[in-house]
């Protein structure tokens, strides 16, 4: 069984890895308020891609395959908890652009499942402050172990 110490080590390794990779990642940018009406003409993503905005309103154009990654499924779930389902605008995920770059770097590196789980935990801890997302039978103190 994975120990807390091992998990922490994995997460640190991943952070190092992401930092190294980060400098080389670039994304198409467009300034746009995610809450604004869709009536304004917007750039449609390239074929095979979807668009998400981070909480700090950076626009990310990402390959459709990313939607099958557990980390994205988790981010979408968190987005629903945080902002509700999108109605008239684009999708906003409840993390900042730096975290999103980490996530993208991680997927590009094809990191191991354990590391992916550690990342899920670090993001859900960092972006989502309320514990109501977790099942009620899980004591709050358990969340502290992943606050690195």
């Amino acid at each position: 069984m994975t120990s807390a110490k091992k998990l922490l080590k994995l997460a640190k390794k991943w952070q190092r890895l992401a930092n190294m990779k980060r400098k080389r990642i670039s994304f198409p940018r467009a300034t746009r308020n995610p809450g604004e009406s869709c009536n304004t003409p917007s750039v449609v993503a390239d074929k095979g891609h979807f668009v998400v905005y981070t909480a700090d309103q950076r626009r990310f154009v990402l390959p459709l395959e990313y939607l099958n990654k557990e980390i994205f499924k988790e981010l979408f779930r968190m987005s629903e908890e945080e902002f509700g389902l999108p109605r008239n605008g684009a999708i906003t995920l409840p993390c900042d652009a730096v975290s999103m770059e980490y996530v993208v770097a991680m997927i590009q590196q094809k990191v191991a499942k354990d590391l992916e789980k550690a990342l899920v935990m670090s993001i859900s801890n960092g972006c989502y402050s309320s514990s109501s997302y977790l099942p009620p039978d899980l004591p709050n103190k358990q969340i502290l172990i992943c606050s690195f």
């Binding site: 809450g35 917007s42 449609v44 668009v51 939607l67 557990e70 779930r77 629903e80 789980k117 977790l134």
Partner: protein, 397 residues
Amino acid sequence: MLSELMNFFRACFRPRSDRYIHTGSDAGGRQDGLLWYKDSGQHLNGDFSMAVVQANNLLEDQSQFESGSLSLNETGPFGTFIGVYDGHGGPETSRYVNNHLFQHLKRFTAEQQSMSVDVIRKAYQATEDGFMSLVTKQWPLKPQIAAVGSCCLVGVVCNGTLYIANLGDSRAVLGRVMKATGEVLAIQLSAEHNVCIESVRQELHSLHPEDPQIVVLKHNVWRVKGLIQISRSIGDVYLKKAEFNREPLYAKFRLREPFKKPILSAEPTISVHPLQPHDQFIIFASDGLWEHLTNQEAVDMVQNHPHSGSARRLIKAALQEAAKKREMRYSDLKKIDRGVRRHFHDDITVIVVFLDSNLVSRASSVKSPSISVRGGGINLPHNTLAPLTTPMEAGST
């Protein structure tokens, strides 16, 4: 301690189960990916077109189209019944309504030997009571069923009269041709119970004068008790009986203060419309369609194209609009798998009922072959609550 946490995440990341794909319950429809459709069929009063697109992991929209006897008796009265049931929190309530409401309606029609507003009201009440009993029975093992509910839109065409009953925010829109211009006018027939409408918020405030927090703005959207956008539904018993608003229901559904009277109602708004010769068709659809198309856009689209495939065409138009809002291509939107797809659009059900004035005016005693079609979708093999039970799924089913 840590292992529990890891188990929680493992439970979140359950494997895909697409290999268990099977198609909708009744014959006649076709499944193409997440789209189910029956482009054309005949009913007592004309023809019809039906389509459903799935976005949720388990389809929460359920629907049925029935034509023939509206009574348990073979002697009728005869007519057409349309039901669109948009579930939330899981598919249990909408499935229950799909399996019981029409049977109740037939029973009351037989008792009263005619179709009436009273028959429809009683059928809704019996369905709500039946689901409440089911929740009472399942509560000890499956408490989350208390937080599952469904909108319920029904249309009945019988004896030249159209009855429309509604709970929630699905919508029925009539297309009526204007004699002078030949243009088709969109007439909304159903009342809606969504608190985004000011009069619905006012109604709640007047029903609950002691609670200034009965409706609150959350995520920029009005919600009853900060939880739900509709004020009337089948199910959602956690907001109807205080005995179901307690542990082990998830904390996010539990209210801080106990309530004495139901917060949500199951009393449908029912209207009666004598059909006129220039009433061409009625579009019944869940809110998934109406969040992307206006009543007039939908009616124009039906009027300006062949009857066959009307429902599918409306869904395509709504998905194209959804893709535009999400800043992506329609062809890419269609590739997104169910589950995560709910972030791009909702489940959408559309039934277009065309009215042939010669057939509509015919007496309701004329016998005709009966038709029964259920809207299809892709479902998991087992009856799970999704997405509510995700963290506890290992212990359920």
